[in-house]
Amino acid sequence: MSHSATLPDPDLALTLSVNGKQEEVHVPVQATLLDVLRERLHLTGTKKGCDHGQCGACTVHVDGQTHLSCLTLALSCEGRAVTTIEGLAPEGGLHPMQAAFIEHDAFQCGYCTPGQIMSAVACVEQAQAGNADAIREFMSGNLCRCAAYPQIVAAIQDVAGTSGQGAGAGQ
């Protein structure tokens, strides 16, 4: 048993691997990964939308897989590699998917965009971007209230090199 604590005891010390760095934080037992990223590590690119695993705005990578940080207990992430939108590209640079989202105008308000991009990167890395239908299915857990879906699919197809494969008429 490596942890055993209750509030209102002092906060728990926790070491997280975030974007390749070991970060020591002090958190209450019930803290989610999302809240720790935003409020302790000040990585505010990851967004809080519904906070119940329904919208995808909080999507990050945990050990290379897309996860919903709002439904992830921070304490359960010790020893796992977390990547956020801030960790996709070196400081000042853009990941090709970020560049493609700009190129294709794949957002309006931008609130869902970090989560969209984290899923989009995984979609291409995991070879699930073979055609527009496959992309739409992979991305179905990322909602966009501005309905930029056709442009998001186009950006992903651009990066995957599958433009024109089953693009159909947008949605």
Partner: protein
């Protein structure tokens, strides 16, 4: 979310017998803790336990309870032998949730009934025994039409469990006093007058594995119908396994989702299929038998004729899969849109 005692278990024996709740993928538990529906005094994190293997086992497959929905759906043994399970998993959640959610947790997931999930409603017999049912006289469009009682009509939400029951899944449970096995079909309980009792799971028991026997001969289909094309719970679904020889049905399994208070196996439909010619008329008769005991309410009455059509379509697809590949792994000819 209320605070709790957090324990991270390193071994199965250490986890078994712990009070409170076990934390695996967290997609149900953390959600319900935020809603204040779940209020465990202790949470035992079991994510470090070595229960992720998926391997051949006695002609079938043994799935570690911590294998994720994504790992199971993508495993070659599952794709080749249990296509209805693969498609139920793919249709069952978004990619993120499939990456997180464990198979044991999927079996344990709680209803989406809004009166259960929202504590501002005082009446929910499942959440507060004896408090009444808000759904029966209230909003119940998505709730169950099979296996209901006057105390509860809450729908069992799992897609994967429907396919697992069709394939005869056995759960291995580890408790403080040792291990036992129970079929998933028997594991889920009907609500009756005790809808707060959902499973045959004793205090401190942990699901450690889900074992599938060798798949039956023939082909398997999972067909799911929902309000939108993806990322939505079922209004109605059917796992159909069909073995047809020379135009005659040798064996059939029919399990329904989106309509039952538990994954709903229909022995009536299976009896109406077995030994009969594999025709639409036979399938329509089986569908009628499956739904003869339905107890719909005003807003969910549509599920009865909808489910009859879902059953027929799933059986036709299973038959077509059988015809297409002779007698073998049974591709899903029809998954109701994308899987």
């Amino acid at each position: 979310m209320r605070p709790f005692t957090y324990v991270r278990a390193q071994e199965v024996g250490e986890a078994a017998g712990q009070p409170g709740r076990f934390l695996a993928g967290g997609t149900t538990l953390i959600d319900l803790m935020k809603l204040d529906v779940e209020r465990p005094a202790q949470v035992t994190d079991i994510t470090a336990l070595p229960l992720v293997d998926i391997a051949e086992h006695g002609g079938g497959v043994r799935i570690g309870a911590l294998a994720s929905m994504a790992q199971v759906a993508d495993h070659p043994l599952i794709a080749a032998r249990y296509p209805a399970l693969r498609n139920a998993l793919l249709a069952g959640a978004s990619q993120q949730i499939r990456n997180m959610a464990s198979m044991g947790g999927n079996v344990m997931q709680r209803t989406r009934c809004p009166y259960f999930r929202d504590t501002s409603f005082t009446a929910c017999n499942k959440r507060e025994p004896g408090s009444g049912c808000g759904a029966i006289a209230g909003h119940h469009r998505k709730q169950a039409v099979l296996g209901t009682s006057d105390a509860c009509v809450a729908l069992h939400p799992s897609d994967a469990s429907v396919a697992l029951v069709a394939y005869g899944a056995i759960l291995t449970l580890r408790g403080p006093d040792g291990e036992r096995e129970v079929s998933l079909e028997d594991f889920n309980l009907l609500p009756g007058q005790t809808p707060h009792l959902e499973h045959d799971l004793r205090e401190g028991e942990l699901i450690t594995a889900i074992t599938l026997p060798a798949p039956p001969a023939g082909s398997g289909v999972y067909l799911k119908v929902r309000d939108r094309e993806s990322y939505e719970f079922a209004l109605s679904s059917c796992a159909a396994l069909l073995d047809v020889q020379d135009g005659v049905i040798r064996a059939a399994r029919v399990v329904l989702g989106g309509v039952g208070t538990k994954p709903w196996r229909s022995p009536e439909a299976e009896a109406a299929l077995t030994g009969q010619p594999a025709t639409r008329e036979t399938f329509e008769n089986a569908a009628r038998r499956a739904l003869a005991g339905a107890t719909p309410l005003e807003q969910n009455a549509f599920k009865v004729p909808l489910t009859a059509r879902v059953i027929v379509r799933a059986l036709l697809a299973a038959q077509a899969g059988e015809a297409a590949d002779g007698h073998g792994d049974g591709q899903t000819a029809d998954q109701g849109g994308r899987a």
